[in-house]
Symmetry: C2
Subunit: 290 residues, 2 copies
Amino acid sequence: MAKQDLERHLKILRDDRIHGAGELARQGLHIAAACARRWPAANTTDLLSALYEQAGIIAATRPSMAPLQQLLQRWRERLSALADYDLDQARQGAAALAGELAKISESAAERAAEHASALIGGGKTIITHSLSSTVLAALQRLADNKTRIILSESRPLCEGYRLAERLSAWSIPATLITDAQLGLFAARADLALVGADSLLADGAVVNKAGTYLLALAARDCGMPFYVCCESFKRRSPAMPPIELETMAADELDAPGWPGINVENIYFDITPARLISGWIDETGLQVASKA
Amino acid sequence: MAKQDLERHLKILRDDRIHGAGELARQGLHIAAACARRWPAANTTDLLSALYEQAGIIAATRPSMAPLQQLLQRWRERLSALADYDLDQARQGAAALAGELAKISESAAERAAEHASALIGGGKTIITHSLSSTVLAALQRLADNKTRIILSESRPLCEGYRLAERLSAWSIPATLITDAQLGLFAARADLALVGADSLLADGAVVNKAGTYLLALAARDCGMPFYVCCESFKRRSPAMPPIELETMAADELDAPGWPGINVENIYFDITPARLISGWIDETGLQVASKA
């Protein structure tokens, strides 16, 4: 992989507004694997040094997304074990390691979804916000089970539409609402279930803006609020303070007015005190264990 | 005014998504005045009986909006005082009464706005949701006073845009956000100020969907949440339970999917326990007096 190829891949990763943090982390690992296979290097030491640096560059593309940082960091830490290999073996080893981490992450997300669907059971009305691939997998398991979904548009890019499309395909009856109606409809649901872009070390969840509002409404209605994601989304206490990504203001498609600033911060932070339970690949953790 | 003219006016009132409850109530009174002037009647008794009926019909066009009900009810109750007048005098008297009530309502809204601006004072960052003519009048009084505004789009019709336009014209610096960012930005404001479509007898506020979410965020941030509106917006305990108006789903402009229901309920109810104070034409009432 040449430098300009890497930059092209990084741009795609940076500009991706479609995929969630888990999927983007796995895409980051695929970029890392491509670098391992093809980055120009004279010997193993050169290669590992370049890959170590690139892992940091890939991780930095999406600062709000813990799994990208976690998985690239894990990959980076294991590169030193390849130091005694010849160049070709080191390339294969580093690429295989990235693929393995991607599989571990994917399977963790699947197991988290299994735990969520088992915990929720049939016949429930579930309210969610934004689109999480892990929540989606949990909902798919709950089809044909008298499950009903209430979902929000999730402005500005309306990823709720993609969720609606999938629910419709799986014949799961659902109600689509504006984000502003989340409070009104919280009272009609049995529980709230959301994914996460990152979990902070104290259990707070970083997820699409509006998640905090749904959690407040859930608490006010006396309804449980669950977060479902693989443990790779948990940031270690050693990581720097989270940066909430600000996206282009023109995504709101608002007219311009002099003196009026348009803000488009993608994520908000829902404090741990508003969360009833965290569901990951190991099962459910309730508040007292957080 | 012929029957078809009345129906045309009622349709305009029913379909109006631009004006707030106070302005619609005054439009309702103007319709009542037009009926008083021109509705075919053989004598005073016939006229008053027809006007009594029409007042009920006008009030029923917007069931979520208390001032329309309150003001038309007040008008209706006073019609009987005109029973001894001749037909022309009764017409003039009923029309004048409607005009007088509209002026009282308008002046009450203006005084409420004065109280709000005096209470808030200069140098504050105020977060608001939706567009209230009373809040707008309060904000205009706070221009040139180091006031900053955070305002939401207010989907689906984005009446926040109209507020942004006015703030821009008055050179009040402001930040426009998606409704989903209300929680994130609540922490950056000093206080929340909203209008009301209706106040329930217990002090709960019926306002554009999303108001309840802002109130929850305000409480969570320890920030005061004020409601500013004239007292005509308070429903009497004798009124039937409030009906939250549901508008056309296609206002969301979402693609259609089989099995996915799109809901567009315009209003939510913010319970009195989340409200720090009510500002009306008489001044501020705090929670304990509600």
